[in-house]
Amino acid sequence: MSYSSRVRDILDRAGAAEGDTLLVRSEGRDSTGVLMPHHEFSHPDVVVLKLKSGYNVGVMVTHTSELTVVNKTEAREKHPKAAANGKGKKKVAVLGTGGTIASYVDYRTGAVHPALSAGDLVATVPEIADVCDVRAEVLFSIFSENMNVEHWRRIAEAAADRINGGAEGCIIPHGTDTMGYTSAALSFMLDNLTRPVVLVGAQRSSDRPSSDAYTNLLSAARFIVDTDAAEVVVLMHETSSDTTAAVHRGTKVRKMHTSRRDAFQSVNASPIARVDFEGGIEFLGPYRQRSEGKVVARTEMERNVALLHFYPGMSLSTFERVLNDSRGVVFAGTGLGHVSSDMVKAIAKAVNDGTTVVMTSQCLNGTVNLNVYDNGRDLVTAGVIPGGDMLPETAYIKLMWVLGQTDDKNEVRKMMITNLRGELSERRDIA
């Protein structure tokens, strides 16, 4: 909520601007403090003052209140940000996209917003200059839930360009909510990747002393400079402790918790590597190694693809249209990859009419198998492509990308069941 028009008028008449020191005389009490931005959840008649003690309090402006400006704010000098200097060290490109890893408090809403420039971010982590020569830039600054194909393409093109231009790798600070989608998109888009592309985020915003942004960022730089890996990966805290980060393959990673530092987990795979915050990087499985040559950004994607989570009672009349109108549909089915029998019929019809349908499992862990139950066999007959142990989100991204690369039905099927970027695995470990 914003100010009521009455309070807005009173503030305007007094010429009060945020940052000015105000005296509010209200019902026999004087309150003096610096005018803070109105909080979205504040009462519309309340002005928020920062008292001399540092506390903010809300003061109700009534019909009898008097409000005067005691002191106009002085234009605050912006503190010059010392550019991090890692001259002579390996070049690492930081491509800012927004998100918690680069954020500050927005007084308009009182919430945390992505706003620091990538340069500001690096300036707050001067240690990074001991690791590499940082080249920071902001591609855009958006909430990760607003990320779309166009953003993925811009990131992929920029990453390919910087690597081809001599960078040892790219760090992509990213909002955590959709980081798994972006990492999958970049994994498919970046062909012949010769250097690592590391997505990093923070589950605690960088305006807090307990932020995980700094350790994740530094670890990303170290992973790029100190290893010979050349994949698209997500690097985040491995546990709740500030001790290690896990490096996850971009197609196998998923945000599995709303708020914990170790929200990101590799599903149906182990992380590629572990970075110890106090030194040392340990690889936990095979990975793609560096090579020479040019990275090619193949960024075409079919946007008319849907990702559907099957649930009991899913309305056929609502989703039949989605099935028919989309070029591709990925289902997160139940169990081994099932949907209701009437949905199977709708799918059969849609496939017949040209829609590509891929089945994954909402269990996330484990692979789909359409041979075990009737329902699954019916899906195969209906022409559904089994998504193996791909995450539903990864299958969605992959289908968009595959449909962007080819119109040939057989080629689409072949590509979907072929492991292209580590998204499909043949075996899953017991532990």
Binding site: R29, M36, H39, F41, S42, H43, V46, V48, L51, K52, S53, G54, Y55, N56, V57, G58, V59, M60, R76, K78, H79, V105, Y107, G110, A111, V112, T124, Q203, R204, S206, D207, R208, P209, S210, S211, Y214, T215, T239, S240, S241, D242, T243, T258, S259, R260, R261
Partner: protein, 621 residues
């Protein structure tokens, strides 16, 4: 306006008896460690673009923090792994209630802030706190003093261990709601400080919603004398020591002013200290501290302090700038420093002292200071110590100090600036409506003195007993169980004498919670046993026995009046000669025999009545 010899302000932090402020954990301290995790903190920029000086000092220590997370008493919110929930409305009501009792005015809308604290005691790196009310007043010794602020904040985690480079905290205490009230700087004697603390404490307890016992209330006292500076002694737990802390701080500030005057007389000015590497010089020295540091690859560093001789520690020990310097040095992580006023000692003999003075070209009024440790740490510590020495030119530095058990205090960190607050954006603001305040004003608690007087008269117990019940926090339970005058007396005795007596005897009191006491009183009230049996019942109850089992084990289920009459008659008849000899005077001597025969199956009054009747019956035959 006459200048006071002493000016103090008091700040009290009292735990509230609710769930945690920003989550639904219980607020009980536990012995269990639970799982643990490791964190680091980093100071960040405040909204004004400045980093707080206190936060920076803490961060320089580059510590790691280990957190123990006992289940039930901590959750993801405490671990800084989940955003805070809405502020506990109960806790807010308690602060509003207390504020209303002191005639303060609530703010129109409450905004929670983040106060930067990077010593690890908060997993977030900040403490959440909000101003709830302002401008209260309190009568102390017949004088009104101002109580300008009433805040609601979260308690910090409990430090359970500290070793080199790692501090361990337990999360059970983190997030317990605290009411924080501050008086104006209007207290002028040590006793007045204590009186104010007592008044505030007793009024808080009157809300009946605050926690009791050691550690649930902590006092900070701000102390300054004319020419001195504001020094805050933070976290005093024992109220009775408050006057002592004040007295000792006054003494300390006076001695610092004396040191300042001497330095000025000697024309000492601040100089950049030249730190010298004395490792080679000290290589053959038998001092354990120095040899130990050198052996571990450390260095022995030293610097001159021209004009400071005799001020670091005067022969009468009244001037002790060296102790202040050592506290600053320790804040950098070293074990301590040596200075010339305390040498020769610690394995550094006069020969070394003389040679060192010669090497450093020191005159008789000059002092020196040494530190041996890992080179970077030693240098940081030495610079801090020297910086503190020259600060003496300005008299008393503003600082936060930790209380020591003997009434003295030690340097902890600089006083925090106001810059270390910024909005807690995860907690929405709360409008304090007129209806809420009306409800609170209509339900203000009974004040302590009124309550004591009422309990004494209503239940017919002694005023002193009533005061003690209220003081010890038994008054609620007492009122609940004291259903008759008879029971009131028994309850008061049990709560005030029997329980402490059992504890002295080493009985495990943990099983004698209010629920257990309630059960025992209810059985007593039902006539299951006599009040004389209460101590034995409680002792068995403490060992985990139920009241039924205890009664059975003691064989003290009440006797019927026929049975009792038969027993008493037998006792009397067996002693016929004695009874006839003593006449009615036999009641007293035989009472003990009767009670032991009855084994608590009949209460004393009834037994005595019965005994009297039986004796009269015998005498009349």
């Amino acid at each position: 306006m006459s200048e006071h010899e002493l000016t103090c302000g008091l700040e009290i932090h009292q735990q509230l008896d609710t769930r945690k402020l920003f989550c639904d954990c219980r607020t009980v301290l536990v012995d269990e460690e639970g799982s643990n995790f490791l964190r680091r903190l980093r100071p960040t920029q405040s909204e004004l673009g400045e980093i707080d000086r206190a936060a920076l000092v803490q961060a320089e220590k580059k510590l790691r923090f280990r957190y123990q997370a006992p289940p039930d008493s901590s959750c993801l919110v405490d671990a800084d792994e989940e955003p805070p929930h809405a502020a506990n409305a109960d806790a807010m009501d308690i602060v509003l209630t207390f504020a209303a009792m002191l005639d303060a005015r609530p703010v129109d809308e409450v905004h929670f802030m983040r106060k930067l604290v990077v010593d690890g005691s908060n997993t977030t790196g900040f403490q959440r706190t909000a101003m709830i009310a302002m401008d209260g007043k309190l009568e102390v010794n017949g004088r009104m003093i101002s109580v300008p602020t009433f805040c609601l904040e979260e308690d910090a985690a409990r430090k359970v261990d500290a070793k080199a480079g790692e501090v361990t905290y337990r999360l059970d205490r983190l997030g317990i709601p605290l009411i924080e009230v501050a008086t104006g700087p209007e207290l002028h004697t040590p006793e007045e400080v204590k009186e104010a603390a007592q008044r505030l404490g007793s009024m808080m307890r009157a809300t009946r919603r605050v926690k009791r016992g050691i550690g649930t209330i902590r006092e900070d006292v701000n102390i300054s004398i004319p020419g001195g500076a504001r020094v805050e002694i933070k976290g005093v737990q024992e109220l009775r020591l408050l006057p002592l802390y004040v007295e000792k701080e006054v003494e300390r500030q006076r001695s610092l002013l004396r040191i300042r005057d001497i330095l000025r007389e000697r024309d000492v000015t601040r100089k950049d200290a030249e730190i010298r590497d004395l490792s080679e010089f000290f290589a053959p020295c038998p001092s354990k501290v120095i040899a130990g540091a050198l052996k571990k690859g450390g260095k022995a560093l030293g610097a001159a302090l021209p004009g400071f001789a005799g001020l670091l520690r005067s022969p009468d020990a009244k001037l002790r700038l060296g102790a202040e310097m050592a506290q600053y040095a320790r804040a950098k992580g070293v074990a301590g420093i040596f200075h010339s006023d305390e040498l020769p000692a610690y394995g550094i003999d006069q020969g070394y002292v003389d040679k060192l003075r010669e090497l450093m070209e020191l005159g008789p009024q000059d002092a020196f200071v040494l530190c041996a440790d890992e080179p970077r740490r030693a240098e940081a510590a030495l610079r801090a110590a020297i910086g503190r020495a020259y600060d003496a030119l300005g008299g008393v530095p503003e600082e936060t100090r930790d209380p020591l058990p003997d009434g003295a205090s030690a340097y902890s960190r600089p006083l925090p600036g106001a810059a270390r607050m910024y909005p807690e954006t995860d907690v929405p603001p709360i409008t304090v409506g007129a209806e809420r305040m009306q409800r609170i004003r209509e339900n203000l608690p009974e004040l302590t003195d009124v309550r004591i007087a009422r309990i004494a008269s209503e239940y017919g117990i002694h005023g002193q007993q009533a005061r003690q019940l209220v003081h010890d926090g038994w008054d609620d339970l007492f009122e609940e169980v004291a259903k008759s005058k008879e029971l009131a007396g028994a309850a008061a005795r049990t709560l005030l004498s029997t329980l402490p007596e059992l504890e002295r005897q080493g009985v495990d009191m943990s099983k004698l919670d209010e629920e257990a006491l309630r059960e025992v009183f209810s059985a007593l009230s039902a006539g299951r046993f006599a009040k004389e049996a209460v101590p034995d019942i409680l002792a068995l109850r403490a060992r985990g026995k139920s009241v039924d089992q205890a009664v059975k084990e003691l064989g003290i289920s009440m006797v019927s009046s026929d049975e009792a009459t038969a027993i008493v008659a037998r006792v009397v008849n067996e002693r016929e000669t004695f009874v006839r000899e003593k006449g009615k005077g036999a009641v007293g001597p035989l009472m003990g025999v009767v009670m032991s025969e009855l084994k608590g199956k009949l209460d004393g009054k009834a037994a005595s009545e019965l005994l009297r009747k039986e004796i009269e019956r015998l005498l009349s035959t």
